[in-house]
């Protein structure tokens, strides 16, 4: 090769990449691709922005900027913003109802206990077995602290109310309906025709009717079923109704988990010499329950929302106390504040629980 030809060879030197066009990268690109890709989407974006401009500033100014936060008595009648002083004033009644004031430490201690167990669960600080034991033994100390007896002054159940009552109904409802639901689910899969028919009958009857009719039944019909001299108070009756209602739904959730377990598990367990009952208890059920934990958490959210219906049979839970406090003659006209606060509290609780459920489902954590 002569030197002249060698000089003609072009050596390819890659140039650095050009920066992408301004309208496809960075924030502008993001806006173009996600908000203004096409005529229809641009129109939608503009409409949505107009809607937000109309609502969000007005809402913020009502709820935050022009709101009255502290006030001894009813707010200025010509106010433009929300009167959160109403919520501050009624805070105690909203949380614990008319629970006597010298004993207010008792709901606080109960809440602390519940919060401790919740934190132990969230951060998985103890083993699953201990957690289950803690949760299922929780109602007993809670009941003792709130109700009194054995050294503590008795507080009548007609004085319980507010968020405390809502949470109590929901927690006790879920905890008691779990074993009942498991029994019903096993009964539904039983080979004994009468047990199966009975379980299907109970589950479908309860799932087919609204909670209100079950609450009415618990509150009005249950006293007629009891023998003379046996009286149970309204709260307990309603709690029984809530437990029954919840257990039918839990049973269906657990049945789904049982169906997801391959029959080989049962066969293998029985062939090792376990009895049918032992195999169910030690092999099938633990796997099934692990499958359905997210759905059970979903049921917790639903049940917590559903406990708001007890207002219809005369119990003043959180929503009941909200409604009652809007009718205080000295504090009339604060429905909006009351309901917005109520929605916020329900939302925070329900949303966190369902997020927790979703994270378990995603990470397959149990």
């Amino acid at each position: 090769m002569n030197p002249a030809a060698a000089q003609k060879i072009n050596i390819f030197i890659p140039r650095p990449n050009e920066a992408p066009p301004l309208d496809t990268a960075g924030p502008i690109g993001w806006i173009r691709q996600n908000l203004f890709n096409g005529k229809g989407n641009s129109l939608l974006t503009i409409l949505a922005l107009l809607f937000l401009l109309k609502t969000v500033p007005a809402l913020l100014s009502w709820a935050l900027f022009k709101a009255t936060w502290v006030s001894g008595a009813a707010c200025d009648a010509t106010r433009e913003g929300a009167c959160w002083a109403f919520v501050v004033e009624k805070f105690r009644i909203l949380m614990v109802g008319i629970y006597p004031s010298p004993h207010l430490w008792r709901p606080a201690v109960s809440f602390g206990l519940l919060a401790t167990v919740v934190i132990l669960t969230l951060f998985r600080l103890v083993s699953a077995r201990t957690l289950a034991f803690l949760w299922f033994s929780l109602p007993l100390p809670l009941f003792w602290i709130i109700n009194g007896g054995m050294g503590l002054a008795h507080v009548d159940q007609s004085l319980w109310g507010g968020l405390m009552l809502s949470m109590g109904l929901a927690v006790v409802g879920i905890l008691f309906s779990l074993p009942l639901g498991i029994l019903l689910a096993l009964g539904r899969r039983s080979r004994m025709a009468s047990v199966k028919a009975l379980s299907i009958g109970i589950i479908e009857l309860i799932r087919g009717v609204p909670l209100i009719t079950i609450l009415f039944m618990a509150s009005v019909m249950l006293p007629l079923f009891l023998p003379k001299g046996v009286n149970i108070n309204n709260l307990l009756r309603v709690q029984i109704g809530v437990i029954l209602f919840s257990s039918a739904y839990i049973a269906e959730v657990i049945r789904g988990g049982l169906q997801a377990i391959p029959p080989g598990q049962m066969e293998a367990a029985v062939s090792t010499g376990l009895t049918h009952w032992q195999a169910t208890r030690l092999v099938v059920l633990p796997q099934a329950l692990r499958h359905v934990i997210p759905s059970i958490i979903g049921r917790c959210v639903a049940l917590f929302k559903d406990t708001s219906l007890v207002i219809i049979v005369g119990l003043l839970d959180f929503l009941g106390m909200i409604k009652a406090s809007t009718q205080d003659p000295e504090w009339l006209g604060y429905e909006a504040e009351a309901y917005v606060f109520c929605a916020l509290v329900y939302w925070i609780i329900c949303f966190s629980i369902s997020r927790y459920g979703r994270s378990i489902e995603k990470n397959n954590a149990w």
């Binding site: 996600n34 009975l198 609204p210 009719t213 009415f216 023998p227 429905e335 939302w347 329900c350």
Partner: protein, 410 residues
């Protein structure tokens, strides 16, 4: 699944089994096995337990009822109710019987449920589609809607709508109005009422005939399209038929109806028809709440459609709207429908919350009856029977629909 295809050459489809199943050998046994014996014993115990429990309940109830002087049986249904019902779809007076009053309540339950189901489905599908929109803002707004509505109790939404939103409407004298016939105030929405005159019944008849003609036409058009590829604008022609025919009839008969306008008299309106705020609040609450759940079903349905379907439809050059309507949504239905069946059933059950805001549905009317004559057992049994029946109808209808949209294995 094995499907026997119809074969024109062999009109009788026949399936020849590949092998014969030998009849199971059954040893006749004199005694039961231990297992069988235990099963039968358990069943006897269960049955006995149930019977004993029912007997106990019956005896207790009888004793309690007679101690409290409460009658039993359904005889009271024939007695005069003597209670007003604010919102009756059928003519009702307090002189009517308890049975009829309860029936009015059932009709109200069905009415509000049916309208809510239709509206909740429309809004739910819209929000569900918005949830997967490529427009970030729209998708976020839809997500906020769903996450807020799903995580607060329905009863709270009802109280808020009834006690805050609708209560903020002006008094009748300061009604918002559109034209001369439509008024909105805190007593409800007032609009003109149609008063039929002789020959009016022809108009609904014409409507039904038009509808039938439209359906037949549409079927023919679909057939034609399948065979030749020619598309007829059958929907438009059908719509013209269904609406034009009654219009034509009424013109020919010389408008056999009169409009009764609502007029402000004193503090309230007289004449016209009214939709009460209780009904509006219940409707709004049920629709918004259930729509959030349906939106989630629609979203998971859409996300279950394989990406390839979308790509293929785009490769064919279909516009986006048509892709959604003709390719994605029909396949999404397979996942959406079973979940939505449950939501419809809960909507009907949730309509019982009417009792909290005073709309006279079946639970609210029944509750008043219990308050008047203490016959709780009978009313609760009637509630349960009606709800179970409605749920049965819903699940039958939705299962039928579901069977039609599922993939048919060939």
């Amino acid at each position: 699944m094995l499907q026997v295809k119809k074969d024109p050459f062999h009109p009788k489809p026949s399936v020849t089994p590949y092998f014969k199943v030998a009849p199971q050998m059954k040893k006749p046994r004199l005694f039961l096995t231990k297992e069988q014996g235990r099963t039968i014993l358990m069943q006897f115990l269960v049955m006995g337990g149930i019977l004993w429990f029912c007997h106990l309940l019956f005896v207790n109830t009888q004793a309690n009822l007679s101690a409290r002087n409460i009658a039993s049986g359904f005889g009271f249904l024939a007695y005069e109710a003597g209670m007003p019902i604010s919102d009756a779809l059928l003519p009702y007076t307090p002189a009517d019987s308890y049975g009829y009053a309860f029936f009015i309540g059932v009709v109200n339950t069905l009415y509000v449920s049916a309208i809510s189901i239709v509206l909740a489905t429309l809004i739910g599908v819209m929000v569900g589609v918005a949830r997967v929109s490529s427009n970030w803002l729209v998708a976020k707004l839809a997500e906020i809607y769903v996450e807020v509505l799903r995580n607060i109790p329905l009863l709270l939404i009802l109280f808020f709508t009834y006690g805050v939103v609708l209560a903020a409407l002006p008094a009748p004298r300061q009604s918002l109005h559109w034209g001369t016939g439509l008024f909105l105030n805190n007593r409800g929405i007032y609009f003109p009422r149609l008063i039929p005159e002789t020959g009016f019944f022809m108009i609904p008849v014409a409507f039904v005939l038009g509808l039938i003609a439209a359906v037949i036409l549409h079927r023919k058009a679909v057939d034609l399209r399948r065979k030749t590829g020619r598309a007829l604008p059958s929907i438009r022609i059908g719509l013209a038929l269904a609406l034009g025919l009654p219009l034509l009839t009424s013109l020919l008969l010389g408008m056999p109806a009169e409009l009764n306008m609502p007029v402000l008299q004193g503090f309230n309106f007289a004449g016209g028809a009214v939709i009460r705020p209780e009904f509006c609040a219940l409707l709004i609450g049920l629709v918004l709440y259930t729509a959030a759940f349906i939106a989630e079903n629609v979203r998971s349905g859409i996300q279950s459609v394989p990406r390839g379907q979308l790509d293929a439809a785009q490769a064919l050059g279909l516009p986006n709207g048509l892709i959604m309507r003709r390719v994605v949504l029909p396949q999404a239905l397979r996942v959406t429908i079973p979940a939505t069946t449950n939501d419809y059933a809960s909507l009907v059950k949730n309509s019982s919350l009417a009792v909290a805001i005073g709309y006279p549905d079946m639970v609210s009317v029944g509750g008043t009856i219990i308050g008047q004559n203490d016959q709780a057992i009978e009313i609760i049994v009637m509630w349960m029977a009606v709800y179970l029946f409605i749920n049965l109808i819903i699940s039958l209808a939705m299962n039928g629909l579901n069977a039609r949209v599922q993939l048919i294995g060939r």
